[in-house]
């Protein structure tokens, strides 16, 4: 294990072997990013296929090619379902969660708290390997004949009675879930025990706080998801009847277990995304975080407390008893209190700031508006009786794409631009990046606003053939155009990153003039052990200390 005393100024060896067997949290983080972006691109390709299929009510004849069925053995409906399955499962399990709690947490948290590495570097490497194994199993979808078609939710009885390979879905969840649990242990211990001497809890970067909360959620709730999908596996392959009503089982048991994890999983994505926005905006505005304690103890801890009591809003039309559908409507609506506190702090961080605009700030600003659209459209979905109509329509689909699909993804993009100089020593602020920004921004809006509109009128989710609603076709055509713009933007952006990694302008150790430890106390990129000298901080230090505010403890 590297310690601060054996910091190596010499560039570490970087052959293939050194990368594969690395235990350095920075390399682990970058490998998480590479895997997550790979998953993002493949899952994004599925989205393009889905949009092409939805452009007109009839079949396009193209979706089979997207899912690797070149001989066209699958009916269009099944091929479409496979594309939906892969898009959902890969975007959530292999892109969003690993990009935020894998890449961003690994790369940033140890340096932000002044630690030489995570507490258990080898376990960290194991987390990474399990994640990559999960990606490989997920990718097998494209070559296996009985491709999984169970959506990312895997509801029984369908997931049990289908002839498709539900086991591949279950094993993907197992591998990535295991990876998350190990990561959670690692980061909770790291944040609790390895903060630089003198660093109090009220001096942490907001991002560190959000990762702390996200991993508490993971360690509490992932085992529930793992148990649910394991029971599914037993039902399908060992002949048990946990979810089979004919043998005393219950189909709703699975949905309850699944959403008991999967709603909190939304905050595993939302919290770190917002934490990154806090750090990026405070840095680019050279300002203290507004009402820090309200953001942490009201916002982040508030969400942590409420997160396990709202899952039934995913089951509003599933015939649950009235008292729980109404009870969880109230708890779901109350999420607005911690989220509101977070947003007020985020907005306030710009007040009296000195804002510099660059690509990372552009994406962060876009996120502010995406949070509004995505968050506010969640309000009618929190109200049980509103959901009776809106549930399972493209309104829901557009809502969660705004808050999770686009906002959290843009937060990842902002993060890459913001910490690119730290990872490579070079800036990724390029013309290509700026052009790509406008493509991604326009693409997301053009794709999802039409879906809100037809969602309110009842366009069902997961439909490729909507012959009963011919009047929705123009909207689908516009949405497909948006997906094309988005696709161009993403490809341009990733190309820009690769180009910048080798050709980008070399910038100094701290191009943003940040006060956070990863910028002030080490070089770019940092060597093994992170800091040339062990870091200690005093009581007036904070990562946002552009103007000295005195004691923060």
């Amino acid at each position: 294990m590297a310690t601060a005393t054996d910091y190596a100024h010499a560039r570490p060896r970087s052959g293939l072997k050194e990368w594969i067997f690395t235990t350095d949290h920075k390399r682990v983080g970058i490998l998480y990013l590479v895997g997550a972006i790979a998953a993002f691109l493949v899952a994004g390709l599925m989205a393009v296929g889905i949009r092409i299929e939805q452009m007109a009510p009839g079949e396009s004849g193209l979706i089979n090619y997207f899912v690797g069925d070149f001989a066209k053995e699958l009916p269009t409906g099944t091929a479409y379902n496979v594309a939906l399955y892969f898009h959902g499962a890969a975007m959530i399990l292999a892109f969003l969660i690993p990009a935020l709690t894998g890449f961003a947490a690994n790369y940033l948290v140890p340096m932000m708290i002044g630690a030489p590495d995570v507490a258990f570097p080898r376990i960290n490497a194991l987390s990474l390997w399990l994640f990559w194994a999960g990606i490989v199993v997920a990718l097998l979808t494209f070559i296996m004949p009985d491709k999984p078609d169970v959506m990312w939710t895997g509801y029984p009885p369908y997931a049990v009675t289908t002839t498709a390979n539900t086991a591949a879905y279950v094993f993907t969840v197992h591998l990535i879930g295991f990876s998350s649990i190990l990561g959670a242990v690692n980061f909770l211990v790291t944040i609790i025990y390895m903060r630089a001497p003198g660093m109090g809890w009220n001096q942490l970067n907001i991002f560190v706080w959000t990762i702390f909360a996200a991993f508490i959620i993971q360690i509490v709730f992932v085992p529930v998801l793992a148990s649910a999908v394991t029971l599914l596996l037993f039902d399908k392959y060992l002949g048990t009847g946990f979810f089979d009503p004919a043998r005393g089982g219950d189909v709703l048991l699975y949905q309850n277990l699944f959403w008991f994890y999967s709603h909190p999983a939304v905050y595993v994505i939302f919290l770190p995304a917002v934490g990154l926005l806090f750090d990026i905006i405070a840095t680019q505005a050279k300002n203290h975080v507004f009402n820090y304690k309200a953001a942490v103890w009201g916002g982040i801890v508030g969400i942590l407390v409420i997160t396990g009591e709202v899952w039934v809003h995913h089951l509003y039309i599933a015939g649950m008893p009235d008292w729980i559908r109404i009870g969880m409507m109230v708890s779901t609506l109350l999420i607005s209190v911690p989220v509101g506190l977070l947003l007020i702090s985020l907005w306030g961080t710009m007040y009296k700031g000195a804002i510099t605009y660059n690509l990372s700030m552009w994406y962060a600003v876009a996120c502010l508006f995406l949070i509004l659209v995505g968050g506010l459209t969640g309000i009618p979905l929190a109200v049980t009786s509103m959901t009776v109509h809106l549930s399972e329509t493209s309104f829901v689909h557009a809502h969660f794409h705004f808050i999770m699909g686009i906002m959290a993804t843009f937060a990842v993009f902002a993060t890459v631009y913001h910490w690119f100089p730290k990872m490579t020593g070079r800036s990724a602020d390029s013309l290509i990046g700026k052009i790509a920004f406008w493509f991604t921004m326009a693409g997301t809006q053009v794709t999802f606003w039409p879906l809100f509109m037809i969602g309110v009128r009842g366009m069902p989710r997961r439909y490729w053939d909507y012959s009963m609603y011919p009047e929705f076709q123009p909207y689908h055509e516009i949405a497909t155009l948006g997906a094309a713009l988005l696709g161009i933007g993403v490809v341009l952006m990733v190309f820009g990153w690769v180009l910048s990694a080798f050709r980008g302008p070399i910038v100094g150790t701290n191009p943003w003039g940040s006060k956070s430890l990863e910028w002030t106390h080490t070089e770019s990129p940092p060597g093994p052990g992170n800091f040339p000298k062990p870091v200690t901080v005093n009581e007036s230090w904070t990562p946002y200390n552009y103007v000295d505010w005195g004691d923060h403890r």
Partner: protein, 258 residues
């Protein structure tokens, strides 16, 4: 400080009153039914979204423009909040958000009561979900794959599924509920005028999920009675044919068995 705290407490105490006020509001016009109720509440919720979203968006634009850095080395000049201000910036927004939450919850709940309270004079039709069609049991041996209902009569559907989970989505009536094996669920709606629309399956159910749909017709009472009479006649014919066949089989049964 103390005064602030008291104000906070008072506003918290006022919340149930606000909620109660919303509950006491009479439903909009005519017989309360899920369709009109939904449309009415949706318009109110939209106002809520536009107001909150508008305030946040305008403030964001103002801050982003106003506090653009004047020079490359400029730093922010915000001052630390004292305890009073920090508490005020936490408790006041929290109370406001909670008030809005309770208001929405109350409005949502009153609509929910309409959606879940089936009128006593409702006509019952049993529906089953199958991969990939709905089947309607009108009673009296009448089964069909089309939903025909008389106008001016509340309709309650008692639903279950014979295979996987489906969901009964009646978009034009703003109602929807899952159909599950081993459970019976229900929804009700009020066809107030003749309408031809469709039901769609809205819970993922496999290959032909997006083709699981059928016509729904709300017709005048007389037309409905005529339709039903025809169906009854047809089903009787079928049963009598079936009975004849059965008795013939029973008569010749032992012989054919040999």
């Amino acid at each position: 400080m103390r005064k602030l705290f008291e104000t906070g407490l008072w506003s918290l105490a006022a919340l149930p009153l606000i909620a109660g006020q919303a509950l006491a509001e009479p439903a909009a016009g005519g017989m309360p039914n899920p369709t009109d109720g939904w449309n009415h509440t949706w318009n109110e919720v939209l106002w809520d979204l536009w107001i909150i979203g508008g305030i946040f968006a305008v403030v964001a634009v103002y801050l982003l423009v106003k506090y653009k850095a004047k020079s490359p080395n400029a730093v922010g000049t915000a001052q630390p909040l004292n305890l009073d201000k920090a508490l005020a910036w936490s408790l006041v927004p929290a109370a406001l958000f909670m008030a809005d939450d309770f208001l929405l919850a109350a409005k949502g709940w009153s609509l929910w009561n309409i959606q879940r309270t089936v009128p006593t004079n409702a006509m019952e039709i049993k529906v089953s979900g199958n991969q990939w069609f709905f089947e309607y049991d009108y009673g009296g041996g009448v089964k069909d794959t089309e939903l025909v209902v008389p106008v001016g009569q509340p309709i309650v559907l008692r639903m279950t599924s014979n295979d996987v989970i489906h969901s009964f989505g009646l978009n034009d009536y703003r109602v929807k509920e899952d159909m599950m094996p081993g459970r019976i669920t229900y929804l009700w709606f009020y066809p107030d005028k003749p309408l031809e629309t469709q039901v769609v399956c809205v819970e993922f159910c496999g290959m032909a999920h997006s083709q699981m749909t059928n016509k729904v017709r709300a017709v005048e009472k007389a037309a409905y009675d005529e339709w039903l009479a025809k169906k009854i006649e047809k089903s009787k014919k079928k049963t009598s044919e079936l009975d004849q066949k059965k008795s013939a089989e029973a008569a010749s049964g032992p012989v054919t068995a040999r």
